[in-house]
């Protein structure tokens, strides 16, 4: 019994030691862009020595050469290649404390355009090489996780259009660059873009046949394929289903349970973590004359960012309104 307890204690100690310096992956930070096809160009060099490079997986190179997809010597952030003017997202809820946007979008030089955000955990995130006048926020503004805060560029010390994303933390009284991958600061591992979903199923994947002046209930399920938890409270990052093509269009099929003329519903569950399934249930009320119709919907986060509609299976509901003999003239 004592031996088993000792083994268990040893195992727990080993696990604790193995995780020292790492944070548990919680609903913490996400990748600072929306395009899931973007991959890392170079990560943080965790070895302070010149011409020694250690990446997030503890791989070590004793040279000065850049190692694509991993690290280059002395690098303090994470470089993500992306076309000029790509949307940049805040990696976490926070407050904008500094920005600069006077450089040309592709102007080479020591300085460049950036946005600096302070977070409640005491860390800061830096978004660098932005486009000229590319900031979509102001100093002092509160931003939500996943909020579109800037457009990318190649300003400053930049070889090829990319975003330099850097996380800073105070260590021993000094601001020091941190490695979010090594510290598992992203909600998912590997990190995912903040908001992304894929279509799973719906209550009726065919045509909803609605008798005029009546309401049917429809639901659709999407997998949370992004890095942020979906919530249904407006105070903590609400995710909702709204009309699409064009967005925020007043629907002719809005039912009494719709929060507004273009919002069909918030996500049903209070919390839908990454990898889980979120359901959206809403009524469809037919006032329109008998005929064939089609209603498109898309998911919107925080009232700020629409999801990639194509990944939602271009979600739409074909509707056929039929005569209600009780009310319609024969």
């Amino acid at each position: 019994m004592i031996a088993r307890a000792f083994i268990g204690l040893s195992f727990a100690l080993a696990v604790w030691l193995g995780s020292a310096g790492r944070a548990l992956a919680t609903d913490d930070y996400t990748l600072p862009f929306y395009d899931p096809s973007i991959s890392l160009s170079y990560g943080v060099d965790r070895d302070p020595r010149s011409c020694y490079q250690r990446d997030w997986a503890n791989a070590l190179w004793a040279d000065c050469n850049p190692h694509y997809g991993r690290v280059y010597d002395g690098h303090t952030g994470m470089d993500y290649p992306m076309p000029l003017l790509s949307p940049i997202a805040s990696a976490r809820h926070g407050t904008v404390i500094d920005l600069f946007e006077g450089f040309g979008t592709q102007q080479f030089g020591i300085n460049g355009n950036y946005v600096l955000v302070s977070h409640a955990d005491g860390r800061r995130t830096l978004y660098y090489h932005l486009a000229q006048n590319g900031a979509r926020v102001a100093v002092g503004q509160t931003v939500s996780a996943g909020q579109w805060i800037a457009d990318s560029g190649c300003s400053g010390q930049c070889y090829g259009a990319h975003l330099h994303f850097e996380m800073r933390a105070v260590v021993s009284g000094r601001w020091t660059s941190a490695d979010p991958i090594f510290e598992q600061r992203f909600t998912t591992n590997p990190g995912r873009v903040p908001f992304l979903a894929s279509y799973l199923r719906e209550s009726n994947s065919g045509t909803e046949v609605i008798k005029r002046y009546t309401t049917v209930t429809h639901w659709v399920e999407f997998v949370n394929a992004g890095g942020r938890t979906w919530r249904n409270s407006i105070n903590v990052g609400r995710v909702l289903l709204g009309t699409w093509n064009p967005p925020t269009r007043d629907s002719a099929f809005g039912a009494s349970d719709w929060p507004s003329s273009w919002v069909a519903t918030n996500v049903d569950q209070a919390s839908v973590p990454p990898g889980s399934v979120g359901r959206f249930t809403f009524g469809l009320h037919a006032e329109s004359p008998p005929g064939a119709y089609d209603e498109s919907f898309n998911v919107l986060s925080n009232s700020l960012r629409w999801f990639d509609w194509s990944r939602l299976g271009s979600f739409h509901v074909p509707i056929t309104v039929i005569t209600n003999t009780r009310f319609d003239d024969p």
Partner: protein, 158 residues
């Protein structure tokens, strides 16, 4: 061949390619996008108007025999010493800074029949991995050296 030998070969190529009436790019702004000058590995595969090393009166140089066929060299290229690194096959500098060299090669390599398999921009340098028609993977590294961009072509490595 030593780095001196390869450097001489590169110099000969540069002279042959750029020294025959082609305008210098020295005055070009950093943001400009110069058009490519295509190298030819041998006279038998020559198909452009550019002057090849063989036409300049030299045996096809080490450079021409090691660079992928049709590899585009930026105008204004000045040869540089090769490092003591067998994986490096060519190195030169061009009178641009920032993304100009990277942007040039992202466009010019595919046009030359060389398939880009990965792009890795950063603050310090930009690396492009590309595949030649024979399936071999190469790397092109563009980095700031002084007030110019140094371009290095090397065999693939992690």
């Amino acid at each position: 061949m030593s780095w001196i030998g390869r450097g001489v070969a590169l110099l000969l190529l540069a002279l042959a390619t750029f020294g025959c009436g082609l305008p210098s790019e020295a005055g070009r702004s950093s943001g400009a996008a110069p058009s490519p000058i295509t190298t030819r590995p041998s006279s038998s595969t020559a198909a452009t108007d550019a002057v090849s090393p063989s036409e300049a009166g030299h045996t096809p140089s080490h450079l021409a025999s090691t660079l992928p066929a049709g590899f585009p060299v930026m105008p204004g290229a000045d040869p540089s010493r090769l490092p003591d690194d067998a994986s490096v096959v060519a190195r030169w500098t061009v009178p641009v800074v920032g993304s100009a060299a990277y942007d040039f090669y992202v466009k010019a390599l595919p046009e030359a029949g060389l398939t880009i398999v990965g792009t890795y921009p950063s603050e310090r340098a930009a690396l492009i991995r590309f595949r030649d028609p024979g399936g071999r993977i190469w790397q092109l590294l563009a980095e700031l050296v002084g007030d110019r961009t140094q371009v290095t072509v090397q065999t693939d490595r992690p």
